[in-house]
């Protein structure tokens, strides 16, 4: 097996992983900044309902 090909594949996957991590952190920060307060009762009511749809 050609070593350079393996290096290329690992490099590409590492780069893709880094990009994914970067965007993931970005989304998490955005979610934190634009957080909307949701009434906790809404979730409790939804939990009690049947929830087929």
């Amino acid at each position: 097996m050609d070593l350079s090909l393996i290096k290329l594949a690992i490099g590409g996957l590492a780069l893709l992983g880094c990009i994914g991590l970067f965007f993931g952190i970005g989304l998490a920060l955005a979610a934190h900044k634009f957080a909307v307060e949701v009434n906790p009762k809404v979730e409790e009511v939804l939990e009690v309902l049947a929830g087929a749809q």
Partner: protein, 321 residues
């Protein structure tokens, strides 16, 4: 702080656009040949920096013209004429020129004021901006993704009941479209291609689309809750929209550059906006119309969409410039 950013961003965009306008279409030409252009369907105009000799300019043996992809096929110059001030040579061809291809013109032994200035090769091509514009209009009307390719119908029928929702959806869609298409273009050109990961393109593109949809979802929930409520489930459905998946794949397939990608994605988004607007205008009226009971709701909407598709068929085969 936020206000300052808002002011800076358009200024930056305008500066970028100005740079594009200045650089687009500029090809390094010979120093003595100032400009080359197609004129009409049969002529090429070459503009020189100084007057050239009439006896030299009107001899067609001094010009060799071919289309860039086929250097072996010489195009016959029927006649050449010089303008009054001696700056412009007009080459006339018997056959119509295919202006979609750049043409190479070899100008032999240029004579100006009795002196020879050597041989030069110049390129003649259509203005680049008009090519970009034709991509935009092509994606928007001639090859409208909804009406001629039947893509993205789920969101199209889901959010076209009310005009305000439809326009909001169209604008959001355009933003998501441009955002994700540009990101996927960059990722394809600079990561996937150099690392030979082309086979991962669909997975990567889906990830990017869901990223931008999630971002819009998060921001819109806070900024405009009313519109967010009106979109309902369809905002999330944008992830699975065929148009938003098709455009990055088309970009990767055609090897478009950044500006062409921007134009195609913008055209696809605006085309979807146009389609949604047209459809919602009709459907608002259909609410009041006396539609037979079996056709009420979605069935008549499909019939209307079919009629729109027929109307858009009128654009097919059209080419701009």
């Amino acid at each position: 702080m936020g206000g300052m950013n808002h002011n800076k961003f358009p200024a930056f965009g305008i500066a970028l656009l100005a740079i594009l306008l200045l650089t687009a279409g500029c090809e390094p030409q010979s120093r003595f040949v100032k400009k080359t252009a197609f004129k009409g369907s049969h002529d090429i105009i070459i503009t020189f920096a100084a007057p050239v000799d009439a006896a030299w300019a009107t001899d067609t043996a001094h010009y060799r013209v071919y289309e860039k992809p086929d250097p072996d096929i010489r195009l016959e110059v029927a006649s050449s004429s010089l303008s009054k001030n001696g700056h412009e040579v007009r080459l006339h061809f018997q056959e119509e020129l295919n202006q979609d291809q750049p043409h190479m013109v070899t100008v032999k032994n240029i004579m100006s004021g009795g002196k020879s200035l050597g041989t030069t090769v110049v390129k003649v091509k259509k203005l680049y901006l008009s090519f970009l514009f034709s991509i935009l209009i092509g994606a928007m009307l001639i090859q409208n993704f909804v009406f001629t390719k039947y893509l993205g119908l789920c969101v199209f029928f889901g959010t076209s009941q009310k005009k305000s929702t439809a326009v909001g959806m169209g604008i959001t869609f355009t933003i998501v479209m441009v955002f994700s298409a540009m990101m996927s273009w960059a990722l394809y050109q600079f990561v996937l291609k150099p690392y030979h990961l082309d086979y991962l393109q669909i997975i990567v593109f889906i990830g990017l689309v869901s990223l931008s949809v999630q971002a819009v979802d998060t921001v819109l929930r806070k900024v405009n809750p009313l519109l967010f409520k009106a979109f309902g489930v369809y905002l999330v459905l944008v992830i699975a929209n065929c148009i938003i998946m098709a455009v990055p794949l088309i970009l990767a397939d055609n090897e478009y550059n950044a500006w062409e990608s921007l134009m195609l994605s913008l055209g696809a988004g605006l085309g979807f906006l146009v389609a949604l607007f047209l459809m919602s205008s009709v459907r608002e009226r259909l609410e009041l119309a006396n539609v037979p009971r079996t056709y009420r709701g979605l069935p008549i909407a499909f019939v209307v969409a079919g009629l729109f598709a027929l109307a858009f068929l009128g654009f097919s085969g059209m080419s701009i410039f």
